[in-house]
Amino acid sequence: MTGKQINVALIGNPNTGKTSVFNQLTGLNQKVGNYPGITVEKKEGLCKLPRGLKAHIIDLPGTYSLNASSLDENVVIELLLNKNDKDYPDVAVVVSDVENLKRNLLLFTQIKDLGIPTILVINMADRMERKGISLDIDILEERLKTKIALVSARKRTGIDKLKELIINHRNISTEPCVNASVIDPDYFGNLRKAFPKQSIYKLWLVITQDVNFGNINRNEIDKTHSFNTKSTSELKRLQQKETIHRYQFINGVLKEALRIDTNAAKDLRSRLDRVLTHKIWGYAIFFAILLLIFQAIYDWSSYPMDLIDSTFASLSELTKANLPEGVFTNLIAEGIIPGLGGIVIFIPQIAFLFLFISILEETGYMSRVVFLMDRIMRRFGLSGKSVVPLVSGTACAIPAVMATRNIENWKERLITILVVPFTTCSARLPVYLIIIALVIPDETFLGFNLQGLMLMFLYLLGFGIAILSAWILNGILKIKNKSYFVIEMPNYKLPLLKNIGINVVEKTKSFVFGAGKIILAISIILWVLASYGPGDDFNNAEEIIRENYTEQSISTEELEQEIASYKLKHSYIGIMGRGIEPVVAPLGYDWKIGIAIISSFAAREVFVGTLATIYSVGSDEEETIKNRMAAETNPVLGGPLFTLASGVSLLLFYAFAMQCMSTLAIVQKETNSWKWPILQLVIMSVFAYVVALIAFQFLK
């Protein structure tokens, strides 16, 4: 049977397991984490139901109610208020957490009022025994006028029951279980008279939406504006009354249907929180965890990295030896393989980084960090919740900018978005690592590896500058805001290995493929530009060099090197590079680095690939990228190109410059204006140039 797909929306409070249920239904692997606000946008998937039916499942950000107060919550309301939306649900599945049933049911009663068939999922059933919870499902179903599936998304129980309920969604009553209009019968009576065709609760939502959040898409019900006979504070009071009224109903229901045997409940939370949120220990532990992460990224991953590096070098050799000589072989061996090698080598480190971030999120620790840091962050115009974007910004700025959506306060959110690109994202890591390896000695200092310390310093610098610029922005930006802050502190959970594994694999994959595509394209272009050149200088390089050296005796090997470098200098890329050399020379760079910087404006990680491609054109020996870079000499000053001075200058340039098109695009989208991304681009780039200039001139 083919028919219309059933549209199913997963709705519920934050952190109740909506995405876990979504993944079970669709077989997809969306990100799951024990932190309220992991999902911040609509995600879709397909679910095969028995009897050949299909359902189109929509995962939504968590929301505490239908009165949105932040952007992620607003996504849900916009969907539910717009009947013409292609995703408008035929059936709503409200996912609740058995441990927080009372709070979760508030949203349920609101959804029910919209007249959509509503199924209640009571998730985390596996924790009931531990917490001494018992439920009377029959009473709940009867009082809430719905069908219930008791589910454990972790243990995969109850999913089939849920599928069955979805198929039979037409049998579910669409009657509300709470009558909201009793909070002001006159007002609601008039409303009904004025708009007899509309759902009364929808009208009420539209009217009150502005009070909390604003800019809702109101389409056909726009006329309600003229009906707005109440002042903002009257409306607020009514909303408060509504909430209390709903809770009264819920309390009544749960008194009959829910039992909690407190003796059976074992509480890990309070014992852990006594330490992890402690005024001193809390901070000490947080700092220790950060230190451990850097040590791991630096030390543990060096073994697989060395292996990858030499593998790619010999792969290049092998290609050259086995394929017929020619342009095509050169392109592969000199352009594509080194370019890709430049990115594959960072997989171990990036995987480690993602591993730690997902563990912090899955255990529930992240909310504790938000709690510990809120007051400090507030000083700088940020919110405790900015910590999560700043930490996940160490993976990539794009999800980090999106993770700001659960910050209620627009000014705090804007500042967070603007400063997030300063944190050291994984794309900077390749650049840092290779330059640190070149210019910082591999020695230990007080038991710490110097190179590891330098890396840690760069991370701290990224955070430091982010915070400092937040503080400056806080002073400059004049935005009125009513500020408040609430965060739920979830229970600690043992991280699910599978969730973490999926996170690490998915993130690493998208890093490698995302960067891989750009690098592949750029390394081909670069290789072409470096292998061809205009005019006599390039085409007759061999004769010119031979003529120069007729007098001196010189080995053929040296002669060939001279020819190759002369050719490179007069190739298209050489000409372009020398054009920009005056701009980058004061920073201590040669034209090759200049080209690498320009090509990495698309994405930072291209830097290493670019250098790898440029340096490997024309060179014969099997060499790792690092050795090639170490052998370069400075055209102006003589001596090795990568010294402490030029190295530090490059590190600082990469720390501050805004070199990522995708971040600019996402900032444009999230702030809905070009002003902010353009400001970000200009200010960060100028700042990077100036700091790098000062550093080089000072250290050289």
Binding site: S65, L106, S233, Q240, I244, T277, G384, F485, V486, M489
Partner: protein, 76 residues
């Protein structure tokens, strides 16, 4: 004297009194911070800000400025 959540010491409990909608955000109510409910101070960050509360089984953290708006009756 007016007693608010901000005056709670760690481990102390109180019952939330009526409050005005103009000062306490609706979101807090929705998260379970309702008049009549019991509130316990679980932990505070330095300078008692933010405060980590357990309100009838709901665990949440709020800033001190908000805590100052929620009047309570201490449970001895």
């Amino acid at each position: 004297m007016k007693v608010t959540v901000a005056q709670l010491k760690r481990g102390e409990r109180g019952i939330i009194k009526e409050f005005s909608a103009d000062h306490v955000p609706l979101k807090l109510l929705e998260m379970g911070c309702l008049p009549g409910n019991e509130v316990e101070l679980v932990q505070t960050a330095p300078f008692k800000d933010p405060m980590y509360l357990n309100i009838n089984g709901s665990h949440l953290a709020i800033r001190k400025e908000t805590a100052l708006q929620i009047e309570i009756e201490l449970i001895k």
